[in-house]
Symmetry: C2
Subunit: 269 residues, 2 copies
């Protein structure tokens, strides 16, 4: 695909039959990938293995407590993931306005902001809160280059910010999905299931069916993750156009904001 | 209390016996108060009455749909209230990172940002997203001058961002409260009530008992509202100290962020 450097994500999720994450990490090392994004539960062993191979590790987390644990494990930087994000939002529902400022107050390790970002105004705001940059998922899904069906991109463009759904809270595995028919059915089962068994909802939240959506373009074929940021996305640009626009918007947003302050700050401060 | 200008808030809430909000508005007009913050359900008649008396109106809302309705009713500016806020968060759970950007995209009316603000970095971020300023509630509760019991201020200082509770979702009147014993009992009743009658939870969420907390300093005497921002508040300054610090932090945050960009933007943009 490319001769440029790239990173690999290893997300450790609750699973009936957990994959051999150690083997994943070994493949990453053997293939010479030297940047990995980790996320999820009990990342310790994987992080330890990767750090021994001198891999640069970005760890994504939704709480300050987990961020601190990851720092102790030796990760190089953090991705702070607010409640607005796509996918696994965690169970504490802390928004990025709060979480990024807490990260600035509590952590000495550099961090980037994840969840809710689509434009330069958002980048400027994240920088102001103390982040070193932003991570975009949903926004990049909606670019010319993203290797997913055009129907998915058009669904994102048409949707507003209220069209996501939080499912699997009952099993402490809360996930923000695009609010399609399957996600709504899953929510209904989650609410009404008398047994509370995960197997009741499992057929609805199948990752396999979700991945099919990206290929067959049937928006309602399975569940797929999307952030609240779908409400801010109104076009399908190339990645180059998107990034140039974001740079321009960020500079303009910071210049506008800074220009509002004209007084001299008293020297006693 | 003061000879300086001040504003009055009129919040229209669902109530078993609704107060005569029209009479409230009339008192505001008769007393010569010329700035009012409105919030809540069906504010049309109150806004109409106040606008006829040339009152400047700031309307607080948690959705873009309600913001647009308020603009049609003739309000002068808006307070955009994200999911992180204290009190009535609405039912759509959209965070300020999303909501403020949507407001910038959709509204021509100026807006300020509410919910999640305690410092200058937050102010800088809100400005970058397009707001003209910020509104702080919980942060001002935790100042020397706030006329509430010191125990409440100390509780805010000691708490982290996870110590709020969302209650009354079942009755579409979702409210973010400080997560004390009463709030947790209320949540339990809300979850377990077989009848689903509001009267089951009413004794727990009594506003009268909540107001007593501010006087008697018994944190668990009743429910009281607090935003996720309690996690960012670590001191009890004077209002003057707080505002001077915020100004300084905001300028520094914007200058730091702007300094990260050194390249010239290509002229074709």
């Amino acid at each position: 695909m490319t001769k440029k450097p790239f990173a690999v994500n290893i997300t450790l999720l609750p699973a009936l039959v957990p994959p051999d994450y150690g083997a994943y990490a070994q493949v990453v090392i053997d293939e010479g990938i030297n940047i990995v994004e980790t996320a999820g539960n009990n990342p310790g062993p994987v992080i330890e293995k990767l750090k021994k191979a001198n891999t640069t590790i970005l760890h994504k987390c939704t709480t300050i407590r987990h961020a601190k644990s990851a720092v102790k494990l030796g990760v190089d930087f953090l991705s702070i993931d607010g409640f607005e994000c796509a996918g696994h939002v965690g169970e504490t529902d802390i928004t990025n306005f709060i979480l990024l400022s807490r990260a600035r107050q509590e952590l000495k390790t550099p961090f980037i902001a994840s969840g809710g970002f689509a434009d330069g105004q958002g980048l400027a705001a994240a920088l102001a809160l103390g982040a070193e940059g932003i991570n975009m998922g949903t926004r990049f899904m909606c670019t010319i280059e993203a290797p997913i069906h055009i129907n998915v991109k058009q669904a994102i463009v048409k949707s507003d910010e209220t069209q996501t759904a939080l499912v699997m809270r009952r099993w402490k595995n809360t996930t923000r999905l695009y609010g399609n028919k399957v996600a709504k059915e899953a929510l209904k089962v989650e609410k009404e299931s008398k047994t509370g068994e995960f197997s009741d909802i499992a057929p609805f939240v199948s990752g396999k069916r979700g991945r099919e959506v990206f290929l067959n373009g049937d928006i309602d074929y399975g569940v797929w993750t999307a952030g609240q940021v779908i409400g801010l996305i109104h076009d399908i640009p190339t990645c180059a156009e998107l990034l140039q626009r974001i740079e321009k918007e960020a500079v303009e947003a910071l210049d506008r904001s800074r220009s509002l302050h004209t007084a001299t700050i008293p020297s006693k401060l």
